[in-house]
Symmetry: C2
Subunit: 268 residues, 2 copies
């Protein structure tokens, strides 16, 4: 398996140094790749069961990326074998009036995983250091304040038993063009297309810059960012699946000890 290290955000991070078309996690032919993904999905289901049985720690997967970068597809394929019993997906959309009436971390805190759970965030609190930055709604001082608030929030989570995995799905501008065009051209995909996607696309480099700064500022020892080359859907899925499986394995999950008091109990 390729190393995650190269894709982990540290120090003076430059998004341009990571090629969205790279396929470091592809080995063998496509059939072998699909088999590996299936095996990882099954393994992930087993590890999720252990996480639930242990009932103590939590896993949070944050997925960020521009439109069509494959957030939904990643969830679909990486968690294709996991029971919905212990996995909760939260999609963060444009904030409602009620959400806007609170601090930006309020709605996120409400959606953190409980003991034994995996929560997947499709977009996240990071939207609040992307959209407002690109649109000029907050100044540099406020942006820096939010970076620090985010890191404090994530420290709270990790110190209270949550392992946090953050992945930015990184696609090229040309790959996005193809995917948006496909949504327009294929009648059964057209419902996914929104005109707003095109206006966001026009600010591509502004978003790349906002991502670069946010990732560099909030990639910490306890909650590091990984940039996932995502032009290849299979590379993207395999990298995220491998990362989650490795993280859960490193947690050394164990079943609660079987109570000896039950050793000879017979049910009537």
């Amino acid at each position: 398996m390729a190393s995650f290290k190269k894709y982990c955000v540290t120090g003076k991070f430059k998004l341009a140094n990571i090629d969205p078309a790279a396929v470091p996690f592809l080995k063998g032919d496509e059939e072998a790749q699909r088999e590996e993904l299936e095996a990882l999905a099954v393994r992930l289901d087993d590890l999720q069961n252990k996480l639930h049985a242990e009932g103590r720690r939590k896993l949070l997967l944050v997925l960020q990326g521009l439109d069509t970068s494959g957030k939904d597809g990643t969830i679909r394929w990486v968690f294709s074998r996991t029971s919905p019993l212990g996995v909760r997906v939260k999609a963060f959309k444009v904030p409602s009036d009620d959400e806007r009436a609170h601090d930006f971390l309020w709605r996120c805190h409400a959606a953190v995983p409980a003991a034994g759970e995996i929560a997947i965030w499709n977009r996240s609190h990071y939207e609040d250091v992307l959209v407002p930055v690109v649109e000029g709604l907050i100044d540099k001082a406020e942006t820096r304040r939010r970076y620090a608030q985010i890191s404090d929030f994530e420290r709270l989570l990790t110190e209270t038993g949550t392992v946090v995995i953050k992945c930015m799905l990184h696609i090229s501008k040309d790959e996005q063009r193809k995917r948006l065009q496909a949504r327009i051209d294929q009648p059964d995909k057209r419902w996914k297309f929104q005109m707003d996607d095109l206006s966001v696309r026009k600010k591509w480099s502004d978003y790349e810059r906002a991502y670069e700064k946010a990732l560099a500022a909030t990639s910490t020892d306890y909650a590091p960012w990984h940039v996932v080359p995502a032009d290849s859907k299979l590379n993207r899925n395999l990298m995220v699946a491998n990362l989650i499986v490795k993280t859960l394995e490193d947690m050394k999950l164990t079943l609660p000890p079987a109570s000896p008091a039950l050793n000879h109990l017979v049910v009537q």
Copy 2:
């Protein structure tokens, strides 16, 4: 496929008339049965995608049953192929202080599915006409009032676009004995065992009576109850999977119309 009609609660319903060991949904050998379940799970994933794409209606699956009747297992196997993107599981436990400070439908209303979603309730508002009835905490008048409140609540849901499926997983007392014993005897299952299960088991016939009355009182045209013979796990899974797939097929889900305004749009 066997008919659901015999297992749908109507009129003068008697739980004793339904054999928990019946296997009306098993055809062929075990391999054929497992293949059918896998095919249904894949079909369910496809239908869930359509429900999401349509983005208008909702599906609520209520699962009730005594301890070890297989609520978790049903969710695991029937939804083994469904992406967690559009399926949310809510497990209702003993009410918290905050939940107790509200009416009994408050926490349930908060957990109903949104447009395009499937919500699965592992236990539900029906616990509030089971435990308090068996424990003598509410009288007959209050019980009847709750039945009516439940039916009113479910009418609201169905009138506002939610299709409601309610399944009681029906096991025999002897099958429960075997399953509880297995939890005690198998070290890797022991974490599931709770001493409290044994005290509930002692009130088996009280619970059966409370179920019988509650199901008869709340099985309506718009939100009927099905009793699922559940001594056989495969029969149980196949019956629930078939019921959900049939329900979604009957909804005649359609993609939103592709906007002709996009017909010749080219992404730059």
